[in-house]
């Protein structure tokens, strides 16, 4: 009879240790037959490959920017450092959440590979755009305020200024340190223009989902203040005041029409 006096916890602990470190000796106890213990690498290789593939799906522009080989080298180090916490790899490497409390892919680079960040300081902006784009794509787009609804509200005598307006759930306002959106867009969706200049220039971009596609717009300073305020659940009035503090010529009526047309607004529940 085989020795099965071990507990299931012991077995899982030994296997977990192997998956994290590649150290397979403690698993020898649980094996029978003459098959080489090195065949265990099938499991660890499969896990690493799937996790790196998850990161490639989540950071495709970075893959194009660095090339597959270098990206995979950095990604493998990240997987070892911060294995996925959630049984879906959609979002692996993004900012910490309750489901995925790990340091993000970029935070890992900052702390563990500072030389990489020093060489490519705008990589943080690329990561911010990758995360925001995918999150906007996978978010609910229900509850969009339509022109018809607004007309109906006006007809019922509602004061639009009093309505609890918010940006839709899929909207993501991204603050960037570099003027990187054009390059990111080329990396993500098309041909990269050689010799593209990347300027240090703080700017703000908004992504949102419309008709199952992600839209992007670079925001003027006052618009950015307005959008960030709305995203932080400030009222429409408060957001307008903050934007006017930034730019006294800020025209909320024009912006409201643009937001409505872009399907970026919803009524707060």
């Amino acid at each position: 009879m085989p020795d099965t006096t071990f507990t299931h916890s012991d077995y899982l602990d030994s296997f977990t240790q192997f998956m994290k470190t590649g150290e397979n000796e403690p698993l020898a106890t649980y094996l029978e037959g003459a098959r080489p213990i090195g065949f265990l690498n099938v499991y660890r290789n499969g896990y690493l490959k799937a996790s790196v593939a998850g990161l490639e799906s989540n950071f495709p522009a970075l893959v194009t920017f660095w090339g597959e080989d270098y990206f995979r080298q950095v990604a493998n180090a990240y997987v070892d450092y911060a294995p996925p916490n959630s049984a879906t790899l959609v979002g692996y490497g993004f900012d910490a959440t309750h489901d995925e409390p790990n340091p993000s892919f970029f935070e890992f680079m900052q702390t563990q590979l500072p030389e990489v960040v020093a060489q490519f300081p705008y990589v943080i902006d690329i990561c911010r755009l990758e995360q925001a784009w995918l999150q906007a794509l996978n978010e609910s787009s229900e509850g969009v305020l339509t022109l018809e609804t607004v007309q109906d509200l006006i007809a019922r005598g509602e004061d639009l200024a009093e309505l609890p307006l918010q940006l839709i759930d899929s909207s993501r306002v991204i603050e960037l340190d570099y003027d990187i959106l054009p390059l990111w867009s080329q990396l993500r969706f098309g041909e990269v223009n050689e010799g593209q200049q990347i300027e240090v220039q703080t700017n703000t971009v908004i992504f949102w989902q419309r008709d199952l596609q992600v839209q992007a717009k670079q925001l003027m300073e006052a618009e950015a203040v307005f959008m960030k305020s709305l995203k932080q659940n400030e009222s429409f009035d408060a957001a307008t005041s903050m934007a006017l503090d930034m730019d006294e010529n800020f025209d909320v009526s024009t912006l409201f029409a643009e937001l409505l047309n872009a399907q970026l607004l919803k009524l707060e529940n």
Partner: protein, 310 residues
């Protein structure tokens, strides 16, 4: 006193025919077959399966297309991250979140079938994105059954559990087929027989597929999977990898035919997760499975007639 669990019975299943695991790049082509007249003529018995965890999102095109598929074809959910075999060792909050998301999807899309693996993948807050084996011990069986029970309670219905691919022999107190049939008996679940996994376990660890198939109760087998594999370049004679990255091997087609003869007609799914070819190419393989299934259906029908007239 424990209440008697409802036992899975494949005769009660409404899933039949042959399906394909659906990839986002094929949504449009799959839906182009949704015209009822075209589908009946060109692709009878077509259904689709998706990896449940790929739909853990709040909206967007994935859920939109999945709804369109569900409106037009039978749909099956195949979980890859449930980690049923480490259920008692997983952090409770991870389990709760995972099951809550699966339950939400099942409620929304009402798939014809829901399945998972008799393996583990999560331990100590880490998700190892692969399907790790269980030692076939009483303790592991108890843990697996608890995982199946909790999964089934969360979604309010029975599931199928899939046999693993074996690359090495782990310490065991029972044969794999007996281990799985006991898990099925204790939990009321059914079995998803992956014929490619069975073939690879035969080639890798000398598991006897004939004996294995004979040990299965056909009434408990609710679905069959087929897929392609890769030969490990370092150990070409000793190690075949369950890659889902190649067409189905001829030996696996043969084993599928044997399985259908022994178990009777079962819904068959073609899996392809890597090196994904064109939709047309996948459909050609799927159609071959459908033809095999139809042939086994006819054979079974003829033998039933023979018994009736005896």
């Amino acid at each position: 006193m424990k209440s008697q669990k409802v036992q899975f019975d494949s005769k009660q299943s409404t899933l039949s025919g042959a399906g394909v695991n659906l990839k986002p790049q094929h949504y449009e082509e799959a839906l182009s077959l949704a015209d009822s007249s075209a589908q009946t003529k060109a692709t009878p018995g077509l259904w689709f399966e998706v990896h449940t965890e790929n739909y853990f999102v709040r909206g967007g095109p994935r859920l939109h297309y999945l709804q369109a598929i569900a409106n037009n074809f039978p749909l099956s959910f195949h979980g890859v991250g449930g980690s049923l075999g480490s259920f008692t060792e997983k952090p409770a909050d991870m389990t709760t979140r995972h099951l809550s998301q699966v339950a939400g999807l099942v409620k929304r899309f009402n798939p014809v079938m829901v399945s998972e693996h008799a393996t583990w993948s999560t331990s100590q807050h880490a998700y190892f994105a692969d399907l790790m084996p269980l030692p076939r011990t009483e303790q592991a069986l108890t843990c697996l059954c608890e995982g199946i029970d909790r999964y089934q309670e969360a979604i309010g219905r029975s599931i199928l559990i899939e046999n693993p691919t074996n690359y090495l022999d782990f310490v065991s107190e029972m044969d794999e087929a007996d281990f799985l049939m006991e898990a099925v008996r204790r939990t009321g679940a059914g079995l998803l027989l992956d014929v490619n996994n069975l073939y690879l376990s035969y080639r890798n660890t000398a598991l006897d597929p004939k004996h294995y198939l004979e040990a299965l109760d056909p009434a408990k087998v609710g679905e069959i999977h087929i897929a392609g594999f890769d030969v490990d370049p370092n150990f070409p004679n000793d190690l075949l990898i369950d890659s889902h990255a190649a067409p189905v091997d001829e030996a696996v087609w043969e084993l599928l035919a044997t399985a259908l003869t022994k178990l009777g007609p079962k819904p068959v799914l073609l899996e392809r997760d890597d090196n994904v070819p064109s939709f047309d190419e996948l459909m050609q393989e799927r159609n071959r499975a459908y033809d095999l299934l139809t042939a086994s259906n006819n054979t079974e029908h003829e033998s039933q007639l023979a018994v009736a007239h005896a």
